[in-house]
Assembly symmetry: C2
Homo-oligomer: 200 residues x 2
DNA sequence: TAAAAAATTAGACACTGTTCAATTTCACCG
DNA sequence: CGGTGAAATTGAACAGTGTCTAATTTTTTA
């Protein structure tokens, strides 16, 4: 039974999210349970509801964390690549994170905000960091492109890679007899960038 | 209270799926309920379980129907287009169906088969019909491409459009400040096809 | 018509998220 | 130091969910 003195508010929040990350990784979004999270940290469900409002709030916090880990993972991938190889490293890193964190990655896209819930700022920020990393690399290989156009292309390429990654993890590609989702994504990205004047 | 004489097996199955389609369209996958379906047709939940094994079986049947409607919708789009415009009509039709059937379209990708459930044949067939329609059009604009390569490109372009469509409906593009998801998808498809020698 | 088989149901079960009154804990202040 | 008020935490209740099973009803078969 959790005691107030055991954890300050922020500590408790972090404790819940950490346990939530575990449950999400193990069970996936479909079987995620706030009660299971409560059980693991020795608090009651009510406390979680009190801290996060409802289960959606907790899932949002978990997904924001996932975005953060993902962004860090991409930065690590980039740190080892130079020149035109950076784009390829980015796509590879995108896939690698998703495959290494299937349930958590999927949860980002499986969870839908309740209609009455406005976009939580922390989630938007974490997401923006990720897209920012990618957009910067796209802009770098398109030096002659107006910034707005480069941003649009970046967003479109994120959607492109997402589609491939999503099909790969969900088994859609497997049904079609495709095994090299990453290779296909790399090709599409390269083609689009070349069409916009990139030298790859 | 449903009586056996009221509906033969196939009729009952169709009755359940039809009601299921309604519930899915109204409530979406997250709030889909087999009990609600049972209530609407005047049978008990047990009957649905008896007919479809479990709720996943019913969702699979609903999603297979959705694939069928979607395929028919694409064929209708194609019937009005000629030449290079056919590809654009296909992408437009892809988006149009998803937007006009948000919850049902999303349910296709939100539902995950239980690990112990093998891919149901009817679902695979319905899906193959859809991808077949698209693959044929891609192959038609790539006359010099080996069949296998054209198929790979088709699958990749489906994933590309899916990514854009998914981001559009989930609001991801909106967060990034992008409003023309369809236009972006059209551009990426055209670029990839041109890179493979298509004359668009 | 009687017996066997199949369909259907009601009810129980173990879950879920949410809510709320009651309790416990804490910080503050006289 | 003791008391008071506010905040945190809980347990219990509630309305849902999918799944399962024993009992019942209906149909088919013999």
């Amino acid at each position: 039974m959790g005691r107030r003195s055991d954890h300050r508010r922020e500590e408790l929040e972090a404790l819940i999210v950490a346990a939530g990350e575990q449950v999400m990784a193990e069970a996936g979004y479909a079987r995620f349970s706030a009660r299971e999270v409560a059980k693991r940290i020795g608090y009651s469900v009510g406390t979680i509801m009190h801290v996060f409002g409802n289960v959606d709030g907790l899932v949002v916090a978990i997904n924001a964390r996932t975005f953060g880990l993902w962004a860090g993972s991409l930065e690590a991938s980039l740190a080892q690549a130079a020149g035109a190889e950076r784009i390829r490293a980015l796509v590879r890193g995108y896939f690698a994170f998703a495959e290494a964190n299937r349930n958590r990655w999927s949860a980002i896209y499986e969870h839908r905000l309740p209609p009455d819930m406005p976009m939580p700022e922390p989630l938007a920020i974490a997401r923006a960091r990720l897209t920012g990393i990618i957009a910067a690399e796209i802009a770098a290989v398109l030096p002659t492109e107006p910034a707005r156009d480069a941003a649009r292309l970046a967003h479109s390429l994120i959607a492109t890679v997402h589609g491939h990654c999503s099909f790969a993890l969900a088994g859609s590609f497997a049904i079609m007899g495709e095994s090299d989702a990453l290779g296909l994504a790399q090709s599409r990205v390269a083609e689009a960038l070349r069409a916009h004047g990139a030298d790859l």
